[in-house]
Symmetry: C2
Subunit: 249 residues, 2 copies
Amino acid sequence: MPNENQVPLPALERLSTYIRCLMQLEHEGVDSVSSQDMERFSGVSAAQFRKDLSYFGEFGKRGIGYNVRDLRGRIAQLLHVDQNQNVVLVGAGNLGAALIAYPGWHSYHFRIAAVFDRDPAKIGKSIRRVPVHHIDTLTEANREMNARIGIVAVPAWEAQDVADRLVAAGFNALINFAPIKLTVPRQVIIREVCFICELAVLSHLIHNASGQDGSREAREELDGTGEAPGSSNGSTPRPSRTTAALGGE
Amino acid sequence: MPNENQVPLPALERLSTYIRCLMQLEHEGVDSVSSQDMERFSGVSAAQFRKDLSYFGEFGKRGIGYNVRDLRGRIAQLLHVDQNQNVVLVGAGNLGAALIAYPGWHSYHFRIAAVFDRDPAKIGKSIRRVPVHHIDTLTEANREMNARIGIVAVPAWEAQDVADRLVAAGFNALINFAPIKLTVPRQVIIREVCFICELAVLSHLIHNASGQDGSREAREELDGTGEAPGSSNGSTPRPSRTTAALGGE
DNA sequence: TAGATTGTTAATCGATTAACAATC
DNA sequence: TAGATTGTTAATCGATTAACAATC
């Protein structure tokens, strides 16, 4: 079994894609897939799928393929999303509320144990049963909750202070939604969620499509609904829909 | 001037990081930076910063560095976020409302022209002055707005239908917040925003830190607040804070 | 057995890093 | 001029892809 520390980050990131597809397939009652199938469903090539899994062990049966339920379970284990895990949210604003309302948490066994804010008007209330505490009580409150992952969902100018507090309270992994680069000690892992950055990338791509000329006409040529599997358009490749299994009700 | 179609996607993505830093620096009244400075501020190495810019032209003065305001402006041009651009949001739920409330749109010159939903109770109302229209009126409404970027902020089971409608209405770039792989024609660009995937990556990393043994002790050794510039911890590298310019008030 | 499909090794590709000549 | 810093070329590194032996 390979050392998990030499797993390329891109491979690790793709595990989330796979688990999402597998959940969908499981939901649809499919119980076996080949790496070829996964290529169609996930948009990641069959070779890469197998290679990615190989960093973690063996998951399939030669000549047969992969058991959907089993593979989903084992990837969940790898990601440590197979058992309940408390996380803490800081910021009870619009974004915070939207995050709490997000229905996907429980299928990854994440549980928002509490929200922290500094607005006195919000403290003591609850948002969808998640209690709002004062940010000053973070360290103390987390002694019970034992969350290690903190979500920063406050305005940019408060984000560094919040990050500092989370670090001081012993959190060692942060997700940052604020549009600012946070500075944290080396041992703390941060991942940024920057949707405005995604918009900016799109903005560039649509205005520079099909070469320097950038003409709309050049793009229109390729129209029609013929979908090409694995064709790159600056984003992740998408599968053809020959299988129709995924996507849409 | 190089052909912009051979710009590596990672380089393009980093432009957003740079512009963010430059905005911050501009806000602080800094008017000149070197690539070394940018390494500290952005966490991207000086060599990579210069290399990334080189795909687009020349931006600095040898021996001097870069003019902050000028560089910010030119990168904004490259990303086409230098002039107003309508975008359309589909989904007037919690997430949609949070997106509308997000304060960062205008600094990138994005404007949410309208929200579309299918809930009759929401149609005709406004969310922070953004009108909510019925999804059936999408094509017609967009004739005036001329948005090319659509934001999918609906539940997973509605997302593919929404994507299909956006494509039919002529949108050629989508941001997808729904936890499902969307299938669209080749010429349409999609980018996924999957924060639960980010959580899952963190979940793996914190539980597998410092090798197979995975012991907490191994990590504690590296404690203290000594921050190492450019050290990778599975996320983007972070700068030391010798300059204190960025991050936190 | 023959056909299918995995897990893995080798070959290719592309991105990052280092080094340096150009030049302010 | 001397020192600094860019833009770019060359070297390194790492990830992806292709090919295939193992095996169900």
